[in-house]
Each structure stands twice: as C-alpha cells, then as structure tokens.
C-alpha cells in the first residue's frame, strides 16, 4: 500500500512538472518521469512474495514465480517510450531552430 502510494506520488511529481514548467526540456523530462512511474507501478502489482523470476531452468524443481504478464507488457511500453522521447526531442529542436527559445509562452506564431 505505501509502495503504491509512493509510486503514485512519483507520477504526480511528473504531472506537476508538465502543468507548471515553461521550459520545453523540463516538460519532456516530466513526461519521461511519468512513464517511469507507470511502468514501476505495473511491475509492483506483479510481485509475489517469496518467488523468483519467470525463467525455467533445468534441474530446478518448480518454485513459485512472479507474474510474467505485466513484465511482457511493460517491456513493450519501455521501448515505445524511447520512440516517443525521440519524437518529442525532434519537435523541440525544430521549435528551437525557428523561435530561438525553449520557453513555451514565447512560442506563439503557428505558421510552419
């Protein structure tokens, strides 16, 4: 319970950054913090007490294993996050080339 709350607090810190920061780089960093918190929360749901990683080995008797399904889903999610971060960085670089600033309150004109 306390772990879930701490992890949710981490996500809220990222949300706070997205809502209040004016610097584009800070907003990208906050988005990646939110991604970390979400992945970690899913893996926290998957943990089972006194169990090992879900890899079968020869000569070892069957022992309880953690839930492999969230691990598989989070694996795809991490990879997608990398692509999203790269896209955001490309957009921010393009905006900087045009406006010479990363401050979102100064980026007003919409023409490409």
């Amino acid at each position: 319970m306390i772990l879930y709350l701490l992890c949710f607090t981490l996500m809220l810190v990222g949300l706070y950054g997205i809502l209040t920061k004016r610097d584009l780089i800070k907003i990208i960093l906050s988005a990646s913090i939110m991604g970390y918190a979400t992945n970690l929360l899913l893996i926290l749901f998957a943990y089972r007490n006194g169990s090992i990683f879900p890899i079968l080995r020869k000569g070892v008797e069957i022992i309880p294993m953690v839930d492999p399904l969230p691990q598989a889903l989070v694996l795809t999610s991490i990879v997608i996050e990398l692509g999203t971060t790269a896209l955001l960085v490309a957009l921010a670089l393009k905006l900087f080339q045009k406006y010479k600033t990363y401050d979102i309150t100064k980026i007003r004109k919409l023409s490409g």
Partner: protein, 177 residues
C-alpha cells in the same frame, strides 16, 4: 532486510531526484538527475525479480541520456530562462494534486496487497508456457507467442515515431531558406 524496505528507500530517492530535476536551473544537471531516476527504476526491477526489464530499462536510460545531451547541450548550453512564475497558480496546482493523491489512496486500498497478485491468466502461462511454446523464458513466450499481435502493434508504433522524428528533422524551416 525485507524487500519493502529497500523499495521504499529507492522510491523516496527517486522522488527526491525527480523534484531536483524539475527545480534545478541547469539543463545538463536536470537531464542527469532524470537519468538517476531511471537507474533507480532499473534497480527496483532487479529487486522485483524482472531481470529482462532491468536490462531494457538500463539501455533505455543510456540511449535517452545520449539523445538528450546530444540534442540540448551545446557549447554555450542553455539554462532555464528566468520567468515570472505565478505563485497562486502553482499553489492551486499543488493543492489539486494533493487532493488527487488523497482520493487515489482509497482506490489503491481496493487493490490486492503488495506481494499477493491475482494471477488468474498468468498461472496458465506459468503452467503451460514451456510445453505450448518451447521457450524457457516465459516473458519471451508471452511477447512472441501468446501476445504476438501486441508486439506487432508495438513495432508499428515505434516505426511511426522514428519516421515522424526523421521527417520533422528533415523539413527546412522558413528562416533557414
């Protein structure tokens, strides 16, 4: 020491690291502080018995750090521009987020306790994964066999994101013409 204690320690460290990353003025320091948060996630994956995820998260962290430093840190690198920040708006935001946290606590109470997952579908995978797919690593058997369409969709999204990044970077803006 029980695993909860370690995880609480790492999570508190990560929260402090992310607050530092958001509040510090220097951009290089902020990027590195977020890198520390990501490595904390990787460490907690090891504690939670997910070695594949720990490796992938570690690689993701290195790549993200390289992309960010390469893109944003120039010779005269950028600092966060000082701007008049509305104190009232920040106060309202923090109060709203605390309210969200308070109401979420009651929802998190409904979930199964830490360490006792439901395991309805996953128990089938654990019992029959090796005989169905022939993979010793059950995470691999889920990714590449039971939920292969998910992986196909993931690859599509990744391809689209990279294509978008390349397209955006290739367009010449008017000021450069």
């Amino acid at each position: 020491m029980p695993i909860e204690t370690w995880l609480i320690f790492i999570l508190s460290f990560m929260i402090i690291g992310s607050i530092v990353a958001l509040e510090i003025k220097d951009i290089l320091s902020a990027v590195i502080a977020v890198g520390v948060v990501g490595l904390g996630v990787s460490l907690s994956f090891i504690f939670l018995q997910a070695p594949d995820l720990a490796i992938v998260q570690f690689l993701f962290e290195i790549f993200a750090l390289i992309i960010m430093v390469r893109a944003f840190v120039k010779k005269d690198y950028h600092q966060e521009e000082p701007s008049k920040v509305n104190k009232i708006l920040i106060g309202i935001t923090i109060i709203t987020l605390l309210a969200i946290l308070y109401f979420t606590a009651s929802i998190l109470n409904l979930l199964p306790e830490f360490g006792e997952p439901l395991m309805n579908t996953a128990q089938y995978y654990l019992n029959n994964g090796a005989s169905d797919t022939g993979a010793a690593n059950l995470v691999t058997s889920i990714i590449l066999d039971y939920r292969a369409y998910d992986t196909l969709g993931e690859v599509t999204v990744l391809f689209t994101a990279i294509l978008g990044a390349l397209t955006v970077l290739r367009i010449k803006s008017k000021s450069h013409r």
